[in-house]
Amino acid sequence: MRNNRLLAAPYVLWMALFVIAPIILVVVYAFTSSSGGFTFANFSHMGQYAGVFGRSFLLAAIATVVCILLGYPLAHILSRENARLQRMSMMLIMLPMWMNFLLRTYSWMSILENTGLLNRFFAAIGLFKLINAVGGALSPEWADIAYFRMINTQGAVVLGMVYNFLPFMVLPIHSVISKIDRSLIEAAQDLGAKPSGVFRRVTLPLSLPGVLSGITMVFVPSVSTFVISQLLGGGNDLLLGDLIEMQFLGSAYNPHLGSAIALVMMIIVLICMLVMNRFGEGEEQAVLM
């Protein structure tokens, strides 16, 4: 017993230094003014950032939903393949993550730019000429499209989030689905369930815990990202991450306000997670069984 505690000490210390302490610092900063006195002032103007909050949560939610729609079928199909193919595929899914996050996002810039890879490809196959010819016949103002505007849009931001965080959705879902006892599936078939019924009544409810942890692991970093929005969104539409970054490193230097915004964001995320876990509680137990 004593021995175990001793072994845990480094981790406890680590947690205290790098998890607990920063949170306490954020709280302290959020409730103090630059002169050091206690104040609620940092929160009084939170309303003016409602748009930023709304946009951040909306984009993160869209990215999360897209990740589920792409990741769930992928995880499900993979779990039925043989072990070797599964290992190979998992490695390929993880492979991009061996490369730096910034590099990956930069490379999307060069793909999506107005003169980027994708637009050059469209031009090369004559897509714009075709559109201009067709569009020009309809109305003169549609006759000179030279590129699709892809970079610096919210769509590009969502794409960046999905691209970067998709593995975090696929991995937990895959690990939960592949642990579902094969005989449960057979029992459902045996009792008369068609393949759709087997999925809806057995596979899906039993895989929800994987989906829930996938949501957590995609949604949380998506809400607070600022690199993706700056590189792919062009800083046009401010997101929470950008806003907070500006208060600490940017032009609007005000760590107290930054901390307050971060705190409000953390609390909203926390509430989201609590609601979701309550919703998925039954299933969580089911899989632990």
Partner: protein, 395 residues
């Protein structure tokens, strides 16, 4: 006579080059309790999965009521399965587990319209089934909170609620302790008679098979060794494998001198078997309980007691007859080292034709390993092998 319901005709199942079932021919009668009995890897579970629809034979046909159903998926078959480890749905409570089969089925009414089973009927049928398996009042319990025996009953109720014509049971009592197994054996037999349907039961436990079945099918290495009533299988085993697998047997080489006369260890005994060639080499089975111990001078054969184990009702005694060790079950105590004689009545001999299993079974020279095997309910052949090896090293 009851009519035939399922027929397996020349069914062979092979995975890659590994033949699991070899040209199996077997039929199942309506309302019959049939047991597929054999050691692990003998193909009994494969046979069951073929009937359940989880695999189709590499060659041969599966017929249900005379209709070929080789490629009919499981959800369209009129059979239901009780799985080895129950396979209860962990996200559903007892009621919802049992109701599963009713909720997923659609039936066609007189007008040809498909409709789900109404809620009231589902409820009534689930409750009825729970009372059949004596689980009334457990409807809203979490399946994880139930004991092994209760989970087993839920699995049976769930499989029976669809009113299948055939219930398949894959070693359903394997995970239960000894006492519960006995109770559940009676319970299963009662349910089968109450429902009036066919039970196809898979087990490696010969005692279970003898106690419950109308018909026992003994299998080994993907081939049927013998089909018969429990009495037939026990009293008239067809070969050394069956004799050894069902109950305890001493199997010795013998020669059939004439009808009714068999020679073992160079001595002639009266027996009831006949129909062999003169002087044909045969396998002779002598059940341990058919041997009487008599004073040395009165015995037709004499030997030395090498091991005695008290078993409650009787003693298991190992006797060495000129190097060949027999198991004898007797209520009379004989100490280790005692010289004894034995007497066997004519009906104590069972003579079998030589088979490929001759000489492989029925010797109690390595008695301790054998003893582990018969007393251990969860017998694992590999572990038994390990013990045998370990003992050799000690010796």
């Amino acid at each position: 006579m009851s009519k035939e319901l399922i027929r397996l005709s020349h069914c062979t199942v092979a995975f890659d080059d590994n033949i699991v079932l070899n040209d199996l021919n077997l039929y199942f009668n309506d309302k019959e309790f049939l047991t597929l009995l054999g050691p692990s890897g003998c193909g009994k579970t494969t046979t069951l999965r073929m009937i359940g629809g989880f695999l189709s034979p590499t060659s041969g046909d599966v017929l249900f009521d005379g209709v070929r159903i080789n490629d009919l998926p499981p959800h369209k078959r009129q059979v239901n399965t009780v799985f080895q480890k129950y396979a209860l749905f962990p996200h559903l409570d007892v009621f919802d587990n049992v109701a599963f089969g009713l909720r997923v089925t659609q039936r066609t009414d007189e007008n040809g319209k498909k409709a789900r089973i109404p809620k009231e009927e589902i409820e009534a049928r689930v409750l009825e089934m729970l009372s059949v398996v004596s689980l009334k009042g457990f409807e809203h319990r979490d399946v994880a909170s139930l004991s092994g025996g209760q989970q087993q009953r839920v699995a049976i109720a769930r499989a029976l609620v669809n009113r299948p014509k055939v219930l398949l049971l894959d070693e359903p009592l394997g995970a239960l302790d000894m006492r519960l197994r006995k109770d559940m054996q009676n319970e299963l037999k009662r349910i089968q008679q109450a429902m009036g349907i066919t039970f196809i039961y898979v087990t490696h436990d010969q005692e279970e098979a003898l106690a419950m079945s109308d018909t026992v099918v003994v299998m080994n290495e993907g081939v049927i060794q013998q089909i018969g009533t429990p009495e037939d299988i026990y009293n008239e085993p067809k070969n050394a494998f069956v004799a050894d697998f069902i109950g305890e047997s001493n199997i010795v080489d013998g020669v059939m001198i004439a009808d009714g006369v068999v020679e073992i260890f160079g001595r002639r005994f009266k027996c009831l078997d006949g129909g062999f060639d003169t002087n044909e080499a045969v396998d002779v089975v002598i059940r341990p309980e058919d041997v009487d111990i008599v004073p040395e001078k009165d015995g037709r054969l004499t030997g030395t007691v090498t091991n005695v184990t008290f078993k409650g009702v009787h003693y298991d005694i190992i006797v060495d007859f000129a190097g060949f060790k027999w198991l004898i079950q007797t209520t009379d105590f004989s100490p280790v080292g005692a010289k004894i004689g034995i007497k066997i009545d004519p009906d104590g001999f069972h003579v079998m034709k030589k088979s490929r299993y001759s000489g492989m079974f029925g010797d109690y020279s390595s008695y301790s390993a054998e003893y582990d095997e018969i007393s251990d309910a969860d017998y694992d052949p590999e572990a038994a092998l390990d013990t045998a090896e370990a003992e050799e090293i000690v010796l």
